[in-house]
Symmetry: C2
Amino acid sequence: MPAISNKIINRLTLYHCLLKYTFKEQRSISSFEIAELLDLDDSLVRKDIALCGVLGRKKGGYPINELQQAIEQKLGFAERKEVFIIGAGNLGTALVNYADFKDYGIDVLALFDNDSAKIGQEAGGKKILALDKLQNLIAKISIKNIILTVPPQAAQEVTDYAVKCGVQFIWNFTPVILKTPKAVTVYNENIVSSFLQMHNFI
Amino acid sequence: MPAISNKIINRLTLYHCLLKYTFKEQRSISSFEIAELLDLDDSLVRKDIALCGVLGRKKGGYPINELQQAIEQKLGFAERKEVFIIGAGNLGTALVNYADFKDYGIDVLALFDNDSAKIGQEAGGKKILALDKLQNLIAKISIKNIILTVPPQAAQEVTDYAVKCGVQFIWNFTPVILKTPKAVTVYNENIVSSFLQMHNFI
């Protein structure tokens, strides 16, 4: 897929959520309905949708099914993205249970932890493995993505180990800014920033 | 505080994470060190910091403590922001245990759920209350913020109830786009979008 901006990715995933949940009983939807619920300009919505190659009808708007599939194709949901979750605490467990991951092509293969009480257990139907098994497993099945949900004090050490094992993409849910080689991509899930942004609306 | 853009809020919270974790052993930090770890332009970092009223020294950069406190003041961390978490599953439990909330002034008072096995229990040292207690409690102590971590199929119904109870800000961790009156602010924590954005870097 040609690169599209992060803002467009963000809006398209929101449209997809709308189609999947809010309007799932309808057959079609207009750019005005989408724009109103998301507080966007309807011309922007039409531009985004045109990018996905779907044309609206003058009366009746966009067919829901077709639009949903077009967004899925544009955003590459069908491509399977295999990930390991490192840190099997509440957040790691919440994420492996996040029902929508599968729909987006995100496939959690296993969790890792170094708490012996958790190792051997399951979370969301996936095995919790000892952290020191990561190296062998990555060598065998070549997983490039991890979701990092360890406590802050362990974040950098675990990252160094994961990078040594060959991890290339880190989705970082810890509040620690990680030091990594240039070839590794880190996406910081800056949770508190969202809350402050919400209050900035006032 | 004068309104600052969401992008600046986002960067300032990232600088704060850096000062708090990565550079906590140092006494001072330069804009170049911050810029390199966050892959930003150093002139942008200096501009953001100037907004907080901190001046760097030609040699030696910014004093860590002073910069940290200035960011906290700029972002209003000292203001206490009381919230209820609705949905005491793994995600709600992860969030109430999120150690950094307190530092940012986010004070979780209680969790709510309608699972009788959870009601009366605690999570992160906070009581889990029956959802139908929300109305009385909001009437008594005037809480305006909720964090929504219920399953998707319950999201709209719980939102309608919370809005009826007087909630004005909803930090939405569900994938459902919520229908609310104009006076209510919803911030969608669009988790999957982040992952897709990360892969868009490729």
